[in-house]
C-alpha cells in the first residue's frame, strides 16, 4: 500500500470462519470426483459414495470420542443447532414446556427457541423460554442455574437446557458437565469449540460447524448421544440417516472429517502456541492502551480468541482502520452489526459494548504478527480517540 506495494493481510477472524485446512482441501478434491453418486443406490459408484460417507462419519466419531451412529451431517452449523435443539425439545414434549438457555448463546439458538415458543399448541399452558444468567466473565452461574431449574421444575417440567461449549464472542468455556448434573438434558452448541478443545462431558445433543475448524462451508454436525430421545422436528426424508434431510454432501462431509482429524491431532501444539500468543496480546494491549477492558475468562477459554473493548472508540471505525493496516478482525459493537444493536453477549456480561474487537488467530499465527498488531493498536486507538476529542 505505502510505497505502492500491496499490504499483506493478517486474517484473524477464524471465529467467524477458519481458512480451509490443507487436509480438507486434499480430501475435498479427491471426493468431488469419487463421491458424486447417490449413497443409497446399489451400483458401484453409489457404494463408493456410501463408503466415503461412512468413513467420514467414523472419522468424526473417533475425533469427538462418540459412536458413528450418533453422528449426522447437516447442511450447516445453524441447521445442526436447529435440528439438535428442536429435536431434543420434541422428544421431551411430554416432560416439560420450559427451555432454559444461557444468556450468551449464539443467535441460532435464540432463533430456534423463539420459533419453538411460537409453534405452541393452542390450549396448553404455554411454552416458556428462560434465560440462564452469566457472570462478568461470560460463564453461566451454576448456582443461579440450579435455582432456576428448581423453580421451573416446580411450575411444570423443564424440557432442556441450552448451553454452549464455549462462547463464540469471548471464548469463555461453559460448565456444561456441572449443568448436566442438574438432571435436565443439555443441548450443547459446540460450533465455536469443536476441534479446538476437548468437549465437556454430560451433554445429550451437540452441534458443530465445519468451516469453524477448517472444513468447507455447508457442512454441520449433529451429534445425538445414544439413549437420548430425539424426534425429528421437521418433515422427514428417506435418506440412510433418519436425522438428516436432503442429498448427502459426501465430498463436504469427507473434507470436514479430514480437517477435524487434523486439527485434533495438531491441537496440543497449535493450541498451546495460540494460548501463548493470546496471553502476549492480552498483556500487551493492557500495557499499551489506556481505558481498555479485556473481556472473557483469562484462563478457562478457547485458545485462539481474545476480545477487548476500547473506551470512546467506534467499533466500525476501529475495524475499518485495522483492515486498512492489514489486520482482518471482527467486532461485536452495535455499529458493526446488521441490527444496530449491541452484542447480547457483551450486554449479558455487563461489559463495555462499544469499541469492541474480537481477535481470533489462525493456526499459523506467529509472534511477529502479534507484535505488529501491538505496535499498531496504540496509534489506531489514539487517533480515533483524538478525532472525538478524547
Amino acid at each position: 500500500m505505502r510505497n505502492g506495494a500491496p499490504i499483506r493481510t493478517t486474517y484473524w477472524d477464524t471465529a467467524s470462519s477458519e481458512p480451509l485446512h490443507p487436509a480438507a482441501r486434499a480430501a475435498l478434491l479427491a471426493a468431488l470426483d469419487g463421491g458424486f453418486a447417490d449413497p443409497r443406490r446399489l451400483h458401484g459408484p453409489a457404494r463408493t459414495a456410501r463408503l466415503l460417507l461412512d468413513n467420514a462419519r467414523a472419522a468424526v466419531a473417533e475425533s469427538l470420542g462418540v459412536r458413528p451412529d450418533e453422528v449426522t451431517f447437516t447442511g450447516s452449523g445453524t441447521e445442526a443447532v436447529h435440528r439438535g435443539l428442536l429435536g431434543l425439545l420434541a422428544g421431551r414434549s411430554r416432560v416439560g414446556d420450559t427451555l432454559l438457555a444461557s444468556a450468551v448463546e449464539h443467535a441460532a439458538v435464540g432463533h430456534a427457541a423463539t420459533w419453538w415458543r411460537g409453534q405452541d399448541v393452542a390450549g396448553r399452558a404455554g411454552r416458556i423460554v428462560g434465560s440462564l444468567p452469566v457472570e462478568r466473565t461470560g460463564r453461566v452461574s451454576v448456582a443461579e442455574a440450579s435455582g432456576l431449574v428448581a423453580s421451573a421444575a416446580a411450575r411444570g417440567g423443564v424440557a432442556a437446557l441450552a448451553v454452549q461449549a464455549a462462547n463464540h464472542e469471548v471464548g469463555t468455556r461453559q460448565p456444561v458437565a456441572e449443568l448436566a448434573g442438574l438432571g435436565v438434558p443439555v443441548f450443547m452448541d459446540a460450533c465455536a469449540a469443536m476441534g479446538r478443545v476437548d468437549l465437556p462431558e454430560g451433554w445429550a445433543v451437540a452441534a458443530g460447524s465445519a468451516h469453524k475448524w477448517g472444513g468447507p462451508a455447508g457442512v454441520g454436525l449433529l451429534v445425538v448421544r445414544r439413549g437420548v430421545r430425539w424426534r425429528n422436528p421437521f418433515p422427514g426424508d428417506d435418506r440412510a440417516d433418519e436425522r438428516a434431510a436432503g442429498f448427502e454432501n459426501v465430498p463436504g462431509a469427507l473434507a470436514s472429517a479430514a480437517a477435524l482429524q487434523a486439527v485434533v491431532a495438531e491441537r496440543d501444539e497449535v493450541g498451546s502456541r495460540q494460548r501463548r500468543l493470546v496471553d502476549r496480546l492480552r498483556a500487551g494491549i493492557a500495557a499499551g492502551v489506556p481505558d481498555v477492558e479485556v473481556v472473557g475468562d483469562p484462563v478457562d477459554r478457547l485458545p485462539h480468541l481474545l476480545t477487548v473493548s476500547f473506551l470512546y472508540v467506534d467499533g466500525e471505525a476501529l475495524v475499518t482502520e485495522l483492515d486498512r493496516r492489514g489486520f482482518a478482525v471482527a467486532s461485536g459493537s452495535a455499529c458493526t452489526t446488521s441490527t444496530q444493536t449491541p452484542s447480547h453477549v457483551l450486554a449479558a456480561m455487563g461489559v463495555l459494548t462499544h469499541g469492541n474487537l474480537r481477535i481470533s488467530l489462525t493456526r499459523e499465527a506467529a509472534e511477529g504478527d502479534v507484535d505488529a498488531l501491538l505496535a499498531a493498536l496504540p496509534d489506531v486507538v489514539g487517533d480515533l480517540r483524538r478525532q472525538v476529542g478524547m
Binding site: D291, E293, L311, S333, A334, T341, P342, G350, T353, M390
Partner: protein, 79 residues
C-alpha cells in the same frame, strides 16, 4: 427518592460511543457527590454507562425514564 441530577445530557438520537463521550466530558465539571443524567435512545447506553462507571471509578446510580419515556441513566461523581 433519589436527589435530582444537576446536569441532564440530552443524547437522544446519538449512537454509541457518543453518549459515553458526552458523560466523560461533562462529569468532571460537577461537584463531587452530584448526579449527572444521560438521556439516551441508544440501546448500548444501558450497558455502556454502568461499564464506564466501573472502568473510571465513578458510581452508577441506576436508571429511570425521562418525561418523554426515554431511558435516563444516572451517574454520581465520586472522584
Amino acid at each position: 427518592m433519589a436527589p435530582e441530577p444537576v446536569v441532564e445530557l440530552d443524547c437522544r438520537g446519538l449512537r454509541c460511543p457518543q453518549p459515553v463521550i458526552m458523560l466523560a466530558r461533562r462529569l468532571p465539571s460537577v461537584a463531587i457527590g452530584s448526579l449527572v443524567a444521560v438521556v439516551s435512545t441508544d440501546a448500548a447506553s444501558r450497558v455502556d454507562v454502568p461499564a464506564w462507571c466501573r472502568m473510571r471509578g465513578q458510581e452508577y446510580a441506576g436508571s429511570d425514564l425521562a418525561a418523554d419515556g426515554t431511558p435516563r441513566h444516572l451517574v454520581r461523581r465520586v472522584s
